[in-house]
Amino acid sequence: MEKTELIEKINSILAEEFEIDKTIIQPEKPLMETLELDSLDLVDMVVVVENNFGYKMKSDDFAGLVTFADFYDFISSKTGG
C-alpha cells in the first residue's frame, strides 16, 4: 500500500472510530490531544490497530507516538507499508 493511501485509510478509521471531523487530523497535530484519548479510549485504539492493521500494540509503542505523522510512520513500519 502506498504511504498516501495508508494515511488516508488511517485518517478515515480514526475519524470514524473516535467520532471526529477528518479535516482536523493533520500530520503535525498531537495524536492523543486531538483524539481526546483517555485510558479507556486507548482500548479502542489498541483494537483499531489490531483489527485493521494486524499488529498487537505494546505499552512501549505509545511512548514514541506524539503526532499523527508519528502514528503514520509507526503503522507503516509495522505493516511494511
Partner: protein, 290 residues
C-alpha cells in the same frame, strides 16, 4: 461523593487481628469484634451515615432493623477482614465452601479466550483464591494503585505470598491496558471490581436497587472491545464459617451495545446478591444519588 481510591482498614487493625488469630484462633478474633464494632458506629461517622441511608432508603428497612443491620454490617466487615487474614495464614481448612455455577466459569476460562471476572465490594472475593487450585496462577486482579499499595504494604510483610497477580491502575500511565490485553491473550482471568470508579467521566448512571447510581464503564468496555467472555463473581459469607462462591456467566455482544448489556446484567446480578445478603454491602460512601 466519589470513592477516593483507598479502602477502609488501617495497618494497626490488620496487625492486631493477625496477632490474635495466630495466638488464639479465628473465633476468639470474632469475639473481640463484638466490642470493636460498637466503636465504629459513632467513630466512623461518614461510613455510618452512608450505611444508614443504604439500609433505610435503598433496602427500605425500618428504624430498628436499620440499627440492627448497621451493627451486623460492621460485624460482617470485620469478620471478613479476619477471614481474609485467616485464609492467608493457613487456616483455610476451618471454613466450609460451596460453589454455584463454577463449572460454567471454568468452561469459559478454558475456552481459550481468557475471561473477565467482575465482582463488587460485597462479600469477600479474596476468600476463594485458595480453592481455585492451579487456576489461581492464572488470576490477575486489577485495582487502583493507592488501594494496591496499601494492601500490599500491610499484608505482604506478614502473610504468605498470594498466587494471583496484581495489575495496578495508575492515572499517569496506560500500561494496565496492555497488561490486561496480554493476560486475556494468554487465556488468563482478569478480575475487576465493578462498583468503584474515581473519575465520573468514566462512569455511567444505572438504575440500581430502584435509584440512580454510578458504575465504572472500564471493566465492561474492556470486556466488550476485547471480546472477552465475562462472568460475575461474588463470594458471600454465610453462617457456620461458610462461604458461597457465586458465578454468573454473561456473554457480551460485539461493539458498544455489548458494554451496555453487560452493565445491565451486572447490575441485575448485584441486586440479587444484595437482596439475599443485604448486610454485606461494603461501599462506605454515598453510592446513590440523593
Amino acid at each position: 461523593m466519589l470513592w477516593k481510591g483507598k479502602s477502609r482498614g488501617g495497618s494497626f487493625g490488620y496487625r492486631f487481628f493477625i496477632c490474635i488469630i495466630r495466638r488464639f484462633g479465628v473465633k476468639f478474633a470474632y469475639f473481640f469484634l463484638i466490642f470493636i464494632v460498637v466503636h465504629f458506629i459513632p467513630f466512623a461517622p461518614l461510613a455510618t451515615k452512608s450505611n444508614w441511608k443504604y439500609f433505610r432508603k435503598i433496602q427500605k428497612f425500618g428504624f430498628f432493623k436499620t440499627v440492627k443491620y448497621l451493627y451486623i454490617n460492621y460485624f460482617r466487615f470485620g469478620q471478613i477482614l479476619i477471614d481474609k487474614v485467616a485464609v492467608r495464614s493457613g487456616f483455610a481448612d476451618r471454613y466450609k465452601y460451596e460453589f454455584e455455577n463454577y463449572p460454567a466459569f471454568l468452561e469459559k476460562l478454558d475456552s481459550g479466550r481468557g475471561i473477565i471476572l467482575i465482582g463488587a465490594h460485597a462479600g469477600n472475593w479474596e476468600a476463594g483464591e485458595n480453592f481455585f487450585g492451579d487456576y489461581a496462577n492464572r488470576i490477575n486482579i486489577v485495582m487502583y494503585d493507592a488501594e494496591y499499595q496499601k494492601i500490599k504494604d500491610i499484608l505482604e510483610e506478614v502473610l504468605a505470598p498470594v498466587n494471583h497477580k496484581i495489575i495496578p491502575i495508575s492515572d499517569s500511565e496506560f500500561s494496565h491496558i496492555f497488561q490486561i490485553k496480554d493476560a486475556l491473550d494468554n487465556h488468563e482471568c482478569v478480575c475487576f471490581q465493578g462498583d468503584r470508579f474515581i473519575d465520573e467521566k468514566s462512569s455511567k448512571v444505572m438504575d440500581f436497587m430502584g435509584r440512580p447510581a454510578r458504575f465504572p464503564i472500564g471493566p465492561f468496555l474492556i470486556a466488550s472491545r476485547f471480546e472477552a467472555p465475562v462472568a460475575f463473581y461474588f463470594s458471600m459469607r454465610e453462617p457456620g464459617m461458610k462461604y458461597r462462591f457465586i458465578f454468573t456467566v454473561a456473554e457480551p455482544r460485539k461493539g458498544h451495545s455489548g458494554m451496555d448489556e453487560l452493565m445491565s446484567l451486572y447490575v441485575d446480578s448485584l441486586e440479587k446478591i444484595l437482596k439475599k445478603y443485604p448486610e454485606q454491602w461494603f461501599n462506605y460512601y454515598d453510592f446513590w444519588y440523593e
